[in-house]
Symmetry: C2
Subunit: 256 residues, 2 copies
């Protein structure tokens, strides 16, 4: 990955997960956490996730809402060969463009499938909205695509992951947000007041407080986030001062 | 749970997950899968999930969009005592109502906290939008609430779960969707055509096809969903006929 396109302004994204199976509780989604951690690491700030049903109108409406509000929209799911795979048509509808069998997509699929196996169903996976660029994947060969700022990927986690590796170098990135986490064996209610004061004193650092419940005890992770290492170090030192003053039991938790 | 309010029309829901920590990839969400499976089981159809940042305007906008479109909106997260807990105020803003310390909320919190521990920060958790009903929880005592069709719950999974148990009996429910799953050791591209024909022949049953990738082989779960047992049994029998005719290797997968 090159830093050539690294932007000083935040680069933002939304993730649209297309899948009835997540909403019915049949499948536990694995892509949200993966994409969230990945984008954060490369300097793209994930600001919203949606999970919607496999229906063209719903998908198109969500894409059109999100692509105006964020630098990029990533979608997962619904680009396979079956009747419930409607993402490609939904994206074309959102952009008001046509869909056609894409020669290069057919060519890469031929590397994987024998002619007999290139059924009409599989050739549906070579249908790409006009104007989109392919996103290749070395596992199943059937490509995803990128149309303007919308990145359309498979739903199967392993295939989605190689598509993400393939597309990320093409995108703008901001400065990656650094974070430092501290685990406090104290409930949020005891941490809240000093933490609020600390946040006021360090407005350039985003301070999050995440309660947990372990062995019948409430505890709190405090997470400091910022793009500037010096400010982050200063806020972290101030947090440790607060911890010492309040007498909290605490430990660094960045390996979490 | 009583069936008194079991409705013949579908009862729908959206889930709004409030949490920077999910979007940054720091925490893997555990609530989406739990709520999805739970609602499906009781006869409420989850149609959309959103994950948004801890910002009042974002939360209020999402709530106002979703509460008009679905029977219920469930929210998780952001009702704790710290500065980044803004859900209560966001809900009040969405409904354009005030927020006040709720006597009953204070009373239940007194059962759990000694007077010294009822800090101003903790008392923030007794602030409830005007007109809302409390949702109790026996773990931390700080309540969630329900305002019209919006159900506001904690983000900590164990606490969210007891709140869900507490509120579900108050809600309308539809007929629970039954499902039958079959695992096919065949790629979606080979299953697609016969499955599309089967879907056309059984329009009252929703047929989903979910690819998986295991030991370097693509396979497919086919899931049939419907509220009527007879129609479901008939579609399932027809699916097994297709499987026999096509010579697929397959097994029932309902224990998944």
């Amino acid at each position: 990955m090159t830093n050539a396109s690294r932007s000083a302004v935040p680069v933002t994204a939304a993730l649209l997960v297309i899948g009835e199976e997540i909403l019915s509780g049949r499948t536990r989604d694995e892509n949200i956490g993966y994409v969230a951690a990945y984008l954060t690491r490369v300097g793209i700030s994930l600001r919203e996730v949606r999970v919607v049903v496999d229906q063209e109108e719903e998908i198109a409406a969500a894409v059109n809402d999100l692509r105006c509000r964020f630098s990029y929209v990533f979608t997962t799911g619904g680009i396979g060969p079956t009747h419930d795979d409607v993402t490609t048509d939904a994206i074309a509808k959102a952009f008001n463009v046509g869909v056609a069998v894409h020669d290069e997509a057919v060519a890469v699929m031929r590397q994987h499938y024998r002619d007999n196996d290139l059924t009409p169903a599989r050739l549906r996976m070579a249908r790409i909205p006009n104007g989109a660029d392919l996103i290749h994947n070395k596992i199943s060969r059937a490509p995803g695509f990128m149309l303007e700022n919308v990145i359309v990927m498979a739903g199967i986690p392993r295939i989605m992951q190689v598509m993400l590796d393939e597309v990320i170098p093409r995108l703008d990135k901001g400065r990656p947000l650094q974070s430092r986490s501290v685990r406090l064996d104290a409930a949020e209610g005891d941490v809240a007041a000093p933490l609020a004061a600390l946040q006021l004193a360090h407005p350039e650092i985003q301070m999050g407080s995440y309660p947990f419940f372990e062995r019948d005890q409430l505890g709190t992770y405090v997470v400091l986030r910022g793009a500037d290492e010096t400010s982050l170090a200063s806020a972290l030192a101030a947090l440790w001062d607060v911890i010492a003053r309040e007498g909290f039991s605490a430990s660094a938790a960045d390996e979490d």
